[in-house]
């Protein structure tokens, strides 16, 4: 094999690898995007379920709620755990809450969105992440 052939083969290998990596990162990005979209869809479904359960009249605009201890006591067990954890963290993503409660991220995301619909918490999107917090001033 001449020097030139080896050189060409190496260049070809490098170019192929680069192309492959580019493709790989693209597909990862695409999967990330799909996951994000699915999560947002999930959140929307959660909100719709809540609205269906309680009806529009009980939405937060009409019923400002304070997340005080008596309210915490009145919540169902699964939501109380999420709410108390958020009170402790002050502000957190579903991931951070899930880490504390040792429950699945998707589960916590559902509960947090439920609490938002009930008017006990607020949610704010910053970039790709959704942050939940207790609104102390509102």
């Amino acid at each position: 094999m001449s020097y030139n052939t080896v050189y060409t083969e190496n260049t070809l290998r490098t170019t192929t690898m680069a192309a492959y990596r580019k493709l790989e990162s693209k597909s990862t990005q695409l999967l990330e995007k799909i996951r994000e979209n699915l999560e947002q869809l999930n959140e929307k479904i959660d909100v719709m379920i809540e609205i269906q359960k309680h009806g529009h009249r009980e939405l937060p605009e009409n019923l400002p709620e304070a997340l005080d201890v008596m309210t915490l006591l009145s919540l169902p067990d699964h939501l109380r755990k999420t709410a108390v954890t958020l009170c402790k963290l002050e502000e957190a993503t579903a991931d951070e809450v899930a880490e504390q409660t040792k429950r699945a991220r998707a589960v916590e995301s559902g509960y947090l969105n439920q609490l938002v619909v009930m008017g006990y918490m607020k949610k704010e999107r910053r970039g790709r992440k959704a942050y939940f917090f207790v609104d102390k001033e509102g």
Binding site: D68, M70, C87, V134
Partner: protein, 259 residues
């Protein structure tokens, strides 16, 4: 080791929460720990009567009202009561005006107060390096005491042998402490000496108490006239380090440490 927050609570008043809180704090200080004792009974403040020599710039009420930070509230009693450790106290304002103000707070305020209490974990335990915060609460289901329970790692429920007290404490277990998934222990206080007159009697009594509560009983404390005579005027275990009451409290401190 990260420090712990202990709430001392009871169903009824007059069970001895303050006396046990103070002496438990003193016991930890004696073993070289850094302790902060807080009076969260805003309806009937009591610690100011015991620690009357020094005054802080602000009351604990002011901290919860968002007027000042916690360092302005803390009084360092280590010189007089440290006994090798560190004892800080935070007092509730005993004036009638302050009590009236605290009882008229709304839900929004209570929610903020819970946030202020929860943030003590980072300011005093993580950054301040304290080993224990002991919260002396008001009896029953009240905002300030439930806020303290939510904040705490461990809840110590003081109960007498009064039937209504036992029933109330049992109800609070299922309707309060369990709901917040709190580590809870029972302290049976003011037990009549006859019940503990012999080892056999003591065992019988312990068995009875265990059957009543579904929770661990961390201490049975006999009723001592000497302790009553102290009348909240001095720290009993400090004045009488060899008294059986002091011994019981030291044992309790060890149990809570490992709890």
């Amino acid at each position: 080791m990260v420090g712990k927050i202990i709430a001392v609570h009871s169903y009824k008043g007059g069970t001895g929460k303050t006396s046990l809180s103070v002496n438990l704090a003193a016991s930890y200080a004696r073993r070289g720990k850094k302790v902060c004792l807080m009076d969260l009974d805003f309806r009937a403040p009591s610690l100011h009567a015991l620690f009357k020599d020094q005054k802080a710039e602000y009351w604990l009420n002011d901290y919860l009202n968002g007027i000042c930070e916690i360092d302005k509230v803390l009084i360092d009693e280590s010189k007089d009561h440290g006994n090798g450790g560190k004892l800080l106290v935070a007092l509730a304002n005993p004036s009638t005006e302050a009590i009236r103000d605290m009882t008229a707070k709304d839900r929004k305020w209570e929610m903020k107060a819970l946030g202020r209490l929860l943030s003590l974990r980072s300011s005093l335990l993580n950054d301040g390096g304290l080993d224990y915060i002991i919260l002396d609460t008001s009896p029953g289901l009240q905002y300030s005491s439930i806020n303290a329970i939510v904040t705490a790692d461990i809840v110590l429920v003081v109960t007498s042998l009064d039937a209504s007290d036992i029933n109330g404490s049992k109800r609070m277990t299922s309707e309060l402490y369990d709901l917040f998934e709190k580590k809870t222990g029972i302290l049976v206080n003011k037990v009549i000496a006859d019940y503990l007159s012999s080892e056999k009697e003591q065992k019988k009594f312990d068995k009875h108490i265990k059957s009543v509560y579904s929770l661990p009983v961390l201490a049975t404390i006999p009723c001592f006239c000497e302790v009553l005579r102290a009348a909240g005027d001095f720290i009993f275990s400090e004045e009488k380090p060899d008294h059986p009451f002091t011994e019981t409290l030291d044992k309790l401190a060890t149990k809570v440490e490992k709890f």
